[in-house]
Amino acid sequence: MNVPQNLRYNTSHEWVLLEGDVATIGISDHAQEELTDVVFVELPPVGKTVDVGDPTAVVESVKAASDIYAPISGEVVEVNNEVEANPALVNTDPYGKGWIFKLKVKNAAQVEALLDAAGYEALIG
């Protein structure tokens, strides 16, 4: 299972990459494997403000819809339109082309509070 060291992780399987005051968010390799074939991604509107734990996007496999929760608070500043057109990117490149949305971060301490790679590896066993 691929768990990059440079990312932070939410217990609900989102990953976070903080660059400056912008966080890129997607779902982990483990999550995409659990979901299997992703066939639809519902993106949030740019400009939407979200709090920690808010359902912000939806990733759907053939069988089920799964909410993607905001791991931190912030404003949606960019969404990945490419995954809307090609949802399989979430499966094939979950940490790269399969990213889902970007938040302008209010409070960087919230990122620090997330799991690090070792903590997430322990979680998914």
Binding site: T36, E42, V58, E60, S61, V62, K63, A65
Partner: protein, 364 residues
């Protein structure tokens, strides 16, 4: 249901890496690799499903034929030896208790395959109406069952059962195997050529593995659902219910109103004479959209909620949303545009001809 039951193949599924889920009171594999993968295997080659959870009833005795014709909506008298037909067990109001397949195995001997969640209810309903000259036996626990489906299923059978011959389409054969008999039926729930193989429960694992070695890929309930919905085959409990008749479900072809009286006939005859208020239609997205799923609201062009989806999925073969729903007859015409509400977003869909998908392989 308080306890989850296991099929004779449960340990094998776990060994094969299946993801197990509770379904209809049974612990069943939903998928082994992925639904898309398994769906494609059945459309393109061969897949094998555990159907041990389904029920098997034996009906025999001098009055068996006459009695079954009173209990079931289709005409059992049309069956020759070794032939099967799709039929319905109806309540007094014509609603569907269960859809099942009845096979004739002798002059007065019948083999019924019923839905997993309905075994007890079907049996109780039938036992309640059982006359003295008919024997009814529930053999569900004795049999392991597997469905091998796909264009290469006949080749898999030939490899796994050398010297044996598949029955013709809708047929049934019985032959001895180690530990008892095998019953092979050639029907299916995917639209592809295929067969069901029933054997003594304790031999189930060995046979399932033998069919895998003969070219069938292990498939779970997820692919079973996408495959059957592409064919518009109804799922009992979703597309069929005690509140809906087979006529409303568009399955009048499997009802014989001319054969004489049967339970539920009056309602069906009235519906046939007076027309239907609602009908089960096939809906296809006109564009890309979020997968439709059962219970999602369905709206007319004016934005009125007219119904909810009884089944829905993103079709792996067609790459777009497909669904079924009961709609007012006025909105059931082919081409009618309706809207599926997915979490507040409306996706346009139109009423299309059934089935959604036509298998490329001709049925034997």
């Amino acid at each position: 249901m308080s306890t989850i039951q296991s099929t004779p193949l449960e340990n094998l599924h776990v060994r094969l890496g299946a993801r197990m889920v509770p379904f209809a009171g049974w612990n069943m594999p939903v998928q082994y690799t992925s639904i898309m993968d398994e769906h494609a295997a059945v459309r393109g080659a061969a897949g094998i499903f555990d159907i041990s959870h389904m029920g098997q009833f034996l009906v025999s005795g001098p009055g068996a034929l006459e009695w079954l014709n009173k209990m079931l909506a289709n005409n059992v008298a049309k069956l020759g030896h070794g032939q099967g037909q799709y039929s319905f067990l109806l309540n007094e109001a014509g609603g569907v208790i269960d859809d099942l397949i009845v096979y004739r195995t002798g002059d007065s001997d019948f083999f019924l395959v019923v839905n997993a969640s309905m075994i007890d209810e079907d049996f109780a309903w039938m036992a309640k109406h059982q006359p003295e000259d008919v024997e009814l036996r529930n053999e569900s626990a004795l049999w392991a069952g597997m469905a091998v489906q796909g264009p290469e299923s006949a080749a898999a059978f030939a490899k796994a059962c050398p010297g044996q011959t598949l029955p013709p389409r809708n047929g049934i054969v019985r032959f001895p195997v180690e530990g008892g008999d095998a019953v092979v039926c050639r029907t299916g729930y995917t639209g592809e050529d295929g067969f069901e193989f029933f054997c003594p429960a304790e031999k189930g694992e060995a046979w399932f593995e033998r069919f895998i070695e003969s070219g069938a890929k292990a498939c779970g309930l997820g692919a079973r659902d996408t495959l059957r919905l592409e064919m518009c085959y109804p799922l009992n409990g979703s597309d069929l219910s005690p509140e809906r008749t087979p006529i409303e479900a568009g399955l009048g072809f499997f009802v014989d109103l001319e054969k004489g009286d049967f339970i539920g006939r009056d309602t069906l005859a009235n519906q046939k004479a007076e027309g239907l208020e609602q009908k089960l239609v096939a809906l296809e997205y006109t564009d890309k959209g979020a997968p439709p799923r059962s219970h999602y609201p369905l709206e007319d062009a004016a934005g009125n909620v007219i119904s909810e989806l009884s089944s829905g999925v993103l079709s792996p073969s067609l790459g777009k949303g497909i669904a079924m729903a009961y709609v007012p007859s006025a909105l059931s015409k082919l081409g009618t545009e309706l809207f599926v509400d997915v979490r507040g977003r409306k996706f346009p869909a139109k009423v299309v001809k059934k089935p959604f998908y036509k298998p490329a392989t001709a049925k034997a």
